[in-house]
């Protein structure tokens, strides 16, 4: 009960009118981190203390004063929320998704998450499968394959409860007894019918509902678009089933690529409605219908025997060791071979490293070093 008493304050702060997410989050950091204070104490400070300790302008004071008047009403809202089994996870909670925080940073991380279900799965390795609402059969098959693989490997599938790819990835994850995070395009209290439908999965801990909007907010295009960045944010890896030339998927992927996220796009043979090829040109990694990585920019039929050989040049177990090593250290090929007895030459190794999409390079003292970012998942990489 006690830890709940701050919830109305969090709700009030999270939806403070006119303030953007970043401004609110910076205030949160100042309150809970810099000042080691809880929200309750903060809200009941005097104006002058707000100004002195939090560098509030007169307008800021006014905004927070006004928000403060909402507290009793938000107490009623919080009571309703909690009594219906929803939970509120604020930014500073250990239950808040670390993946989300890492991906969206202070600038875009939602100040609170409203959830229902197994919150623990926010902390686990996850993938998102994204794509358009009117995806074709082929893309839906891809979605199903990826969801299956993820479920088999105990990875959480993040989706957005739209038609098409979203719906398919959720239903497939459920079918393969996997776990799912559903990011809602609306307030969590307006999702009654969905809760009914996925009741069993929520109750047995396989589905978590997450919303970042005001609990009573109705669905809107704006919210659906805003929700996309949360889907991308909650996933370690992103799989694009089918993207058109514009729209949510497209914008999300482009944005993700800019931020250097691991994005894999299905290289479909059906390119009419599918604009994934353009995404691949822009840096998404191509995968086949089973999620297997394809040679960059090379359609399947152009793979040379040489390339195929190079893929099999090292054993599976050796590959795993290599990944672990490169996650820890940044090394030259020579250094790698000193640490790992791979029985191949420098050149063979370099060639091989190039085929692994997650391996990045950096020039240090004029030599090319290889490394793998620590938070990069290696889920679908096989050799």
């Amino acid at each position: 009960m006690k830890q709940h008493t701050e919830i109305p304050y969090w709700i009030t702060l999270a939806h403070l009118p006119k303030w953007g997410t970043e401004k609110i989050n910076r205030l949160v950091v100042k309150i809970v981190h810099d000042n080691q204070m809880n929200l309750e104490i903060f809200f009941h400070l005097s104006e002058s203390e707000w100004k002195d300790r939090f560098e509030f302008s007169d307008n800021d004071v006014l905004d927070v004063q006004n928000a403060k008047l909402e507290l009793p009403n938000n107490a009623f809202l919080a009571e309703e929320l909690l009594s219906q089994g929803f939970e509120v996870v604020p930014l500073n909670s250990f239950e808040y998704s670390k993946i989300l925080k890492d991906n969206l940073k202070i600038k875009h991380s939602p100040t609170v998450l409203y959830t229902k279900g197994n919150k623990q799965i926010m902390q686990e390795n996850s993938i998102a499968i994204v794509g358009s609402r009117d995806a074709d059969k082929d893309s839906l098959q891809f979605t199903d394959n990826i969801a299956k693989k993820a479920s088999e490997q105990n990875k959480v599938v993040v989706s957005g409860f739209a038609k098409g790819v979203d719906k398919q990835s959720l239903d497939s994850a459920i079918r393969y007894k996997g776990r799912s995070i559903v990011v809602l395009p609306q307030g969590i209290m307006t999702f009654g019918s969905g809760i009914k439908k996925y009741y069993a999965e929520i109750t047995n801990g396989n589905v978590l509902l997450v919303s970042t909007f005001h609990p009573k907010a109705a669905w809107s295009v704006g919210l659906a678009m805003a929700r996309n960045s949360i889907i991308y944010g909650l996933a370690n890896e992103i799989y694009v089933a089918q993207s058109s030339e514009s729209g949510g998927t497209w914008a999300g992927v482009i944005n993700g690529l800019k931020k250097g996220r691991s994005i894999f796009a299905y290289l479909s043979e059906n390119t009419e409605k599918n604009n994934n090829l353009t995404l691949i040109e822009k840096g998404a990694k191509p995968v086949d219908i089973d999620g297997n990585f394809l040679e960059e920019n090379l359609p399947k039929n152009l793979l040379t025997s040489d390339n195929i050989n190079s893929k099999n040049i090292i054993e599976n177990s050796e590959f795993e060791q290599l990944v672990i090593l490169l996650k820890k250290e940044t090394l030259t090929p020579k250094q790698i071979l000193e640490k790992l007895p791979l029985n191949i030459s420098d050149k063979q190794l370099i060639k091989h490293l190039k085929t692994i999409p997650i391996v990045k390079t950096i020039k240090k003292s004029n030599r090319i070093h290889y490394f793998i970012e620590q938070n990069v998942a290696t889920l679908f990489l096989t050799i």
Binding site: T5, L71, P72, N73, F76, L82, G85, G117, N204
Partner: protein, 671 residues
């Protein structure tokens, strides 16, 4: 605002010159945004503490109260003073409630009373988010505590709410009955630096008596001799539903105006009785503890218990309904040491269902979200049990309760902790201890009011001076042959009514020859049915005929039908035939079952009983039924589900009237 300024305002708004000291202490704290728990006896003026303060705040004050009658009274008084107050309740129309909410939204109200269960109403919750609230009041705050005597589950939502309200937001909780333990519990639950203010609980106008008796007969005879001698009107609390009826009929037999009241009575009749009580139309209402929470009658002159309550706090609360006008009132408690412990102990022991039942409810809800009826049907548990279990599971956060289109739905909460049974054990032990104290009250030689106040942790300096012990008067019952004869005659001519009339069928109320457990009728039936005792004996026939004449007089029936048996052969058929012959009505065996049914007693819940029988009956030729007045015979009337199903069927076929006549009526199914 200082006291002087406040009292000037008090004078101009309420017309009073000054506050009591304790009232001012409370008001001052609330004005400063503190949380206060106020424990004061009835008549102290608790409501003025929040009513006055409410007029001083900018926004609206919301008062949660379980007492509809009290809300209505207070609203009327406030409106008469020119203070904009209103209340939302299930007794208003939807439009009226909407208007009230609308007024609250537009800041046209200062004070709004609502029942705690309104927190389950979606429209209210949608609205309250936009109402400017200045203070929250929790009336009858002891209902918050499961340690208290009147725990109301919807109060749980109030506690949660109060916990979530911001610091410096004024909250006042009030109660007239709280032990130290309940007080502490309320304080812990409401939290945030709540201070409690406790007045003294002595009610010097209540004259407490305990009358020791040897039998139920002695209670009935004493009441017959003395009830009319006590001035005014009052309540007699009986332990069971059946007893409310028996006592009321006994008074009726003696031409004393009385009526029975219990949870088995429909809402409209209840309201009618409550109104009658307020208007002194009865000498007394005989009731289970179902009557009371909603009753605010200042001139209640007596409260008499024919059964001992489970604890002194229950007792204090129930007798507290007498003499609110501070004039003398008489409080009598009968105690038969040989028999009267059984019932309260069974309440304590049977108050909580077995653990397996908890787990079966949890498992059902885990797999499916269900309403109350759904849970009852799937688990085959009694509705009353399921309600207790659900309340506990919600309390422990294992199950959540949602409202969908005014229907309650139960969901399992993922990640909740396992059922905590230690709570239950602690609670049971506490209840047993409190019951021991109740027994001590009966035998104490000291002032009885002092005893009760001590129990409530309120230490009195003076004795009351008016209880039987203070006056050194022992009341005895004098049983004479004349009274014994009257009682025997009453018993032989009193037949329980089978209340089954409803709007959708042509069933009319019938009659039973006896209560199942009250006389030797039950044993006799059991012998015939289950111990090969042969046909029901003729004295049962005579009793049933007597019941028939008493209830139906010379009314004619066209045919006598009987309920086709599930397992006990031709007993009922033979009995019905004898009834028909004795009354010279036509006997008929055309009513048949068209499929096997299970014995009704197999089902714990009335809902499954109904399902068991649904469309199970048939007659070959419906011309035999059309336009007929039918007397329907059965041996035992329990939930009434069988009679109702047959009545529904026969009404559909075109029967004009269907009246049940049974040998016995049990003490109540759960529907």
């Amino acid at each position: 605002m200082n006291r002087q300024q406040a009292e000037q305002k008090l004078k101009s708004i309420f017309g009073f010159d000054q506050f009591h000291d304790n009232q001012w202490i409370v008001i001052e704290k609330i004005l400063q945004g503190q949380r206060v728990l106020l424990i004061e006896k009835t008549g102290f003026g608790k409501s003025l503490c929040y009513q006055f303060t409410a007029t001083q705040f900018k926004g609206i004050t919301i008062i949660f109260s379980p007492l509809l009658a009290l809300m209505r009274d207070q609203v009327q008084k406030l409106q008469a003073l020119g203070i904009s107050a209103n209340f939302i309740s299930s007794q208003h129309t939807e439009e009226e409630n909407q208007q009230t909410i609308h007024d609250a939204l537009n800041e046209k109200l200062k004070i709004l009373y609502i029942h705690p269960s309104r927190m389950e109403n979606i429209m209210w919750l949608e609205t309250v988010r936009n109402i400017k609230i200045s203070m929250v009041v929790v009336d009858e705050a002891h209902c918050i505590s499961t340690w208290g005597h009147d725990f109301i589950p919807s109060y749980r939502k109030i506690i949660n709410l109060v916990n979530l309200l911001p610091l410096n937001f004024p909250v006042l909780a009030t109660t007239a009955t709280a032990t130290k333990r309940v007080e502490d519990d309320i304080k812990t639950q409401i939290g945030k630096n709540i201070v409690s203010i406790r007045g003294n609980l002595l009610r010097e106008n209540l004259n407490l008596y305990v009358i020791m008796v040897q039998s139920e007969d002695e209670k009935m005879i004493w009441l017959a001799q003395h009830l009319e001698k006590i001035q005014g009107t009052g309540i007699i609390y009986a332990g069971t539903r059946a007893n409310t009826e028996i006592y009321a009929k006994w008074f009726e037999y003696l031409k004393i105006k009385a009526v029975h009241y219990n949870s088995g009575i429909d809402t409209a009749t209840k309201k009618y009785i409550e109104q009658g009580l307020m208007n002194n139309e009865y000498k007394c209402v005989v009731s289970t503890n179902a009557l009371g929470m909603g009753i605010d009658k200042p001139d209640m002159r007596f409260v008499i218990h024919t059964q001992i309550p489970v604890s002194p706090i229950h007792y204090y609360q129930e007798i507290g309904r007498a003499g609110r006008d501070s004039k003398p009132a008489y409080i009598v408690l009968f105690y038969n040491p040989a028999e009267d412990k059984t019932l309260p102990l069974s309440f304590i022991e049977g108050g909580r269902p077995k653990l397996e039942k908890y787990h079966s409810v949890i498992n059902i809800i885990k797999s499916e979200r269900l309403g109350l009826n759904g849970v009852v049907k799937t688990t085959n548990l009694k509705q009353t049990e399921v309600k207790v279990i659900l309340a506990d599971l919600i309390e422990q956060g294992i199950v959540v309760e949602l409202v969908e289109k005014s229907r309650k739905i139960y969901e399992f909460k993922f990640g909740s902790l396992d059922l905590n049974v230690q709570n239950f054990k602690d609670l049971r032990n506490t209840k047993l201890r409190e019951f021991d104290e109740m027994l001590n009250y009966l035998v104490t030689k000291n002032c009885r009011m002092t005893f009760l106040c001590n129990f409530l942790d309120d230490n009195l300096s003076n004795d009351c001076g008016v209880c039987d012990n203070c006056r050194q008067r022992t009341v005895n019952v004098s049983v004479t042959q004349e009274w014994n004869d009257k009682l025997v005659n009453f018993r032989e001519t009193y037949f329980p009514i089978l209340e089954i009339e409803n709007k959708t069928t042509n069933l009319i109320n019938g009659v039973a020859a006896s209560y199942y457990g009250v006389s030797n009728v039950g044993q006799t039936l059991h012998r015939s049915k289950y111990e090969n005792g042969g046909d029901f004996p003729d004295w049962l026939l005579r009793l049933a005929l007597k019941a028939f004449y008493k209830h139906f007089g010379r009314k004619k029936f066209d045919i006598v039908l009987y309920v086709p048996p599930t397992e006990s052969g031709d007993l009922v058929k033979n009995f019905a035939e004898k009834i028909a012959n004795s009354l010279s009505f036509k006997f008929s065996n055309i009513l048949k079952k068209n499929r096997m049914t299970q014995p009704q007693k197999k089902f714990q819940t009335g809902l499954l009983k109904i399902d068991n029988l649904k469309d199970a009956f048939t007659v070959e030729n419906k011309n035999d039924i059309i336009g007929k007045n039918i007397l329907l015979i059965d041996d035992i009337y329990d939930s009434g589900a069988t009679i109702k199903e047959i009545g529904k069927y026969l009404s559909k076929l075109g029967a004009t009237k269907i009246a049940p006549l049974t040998i016995a009526k049990t003490l109540g199914g759960d529907l």
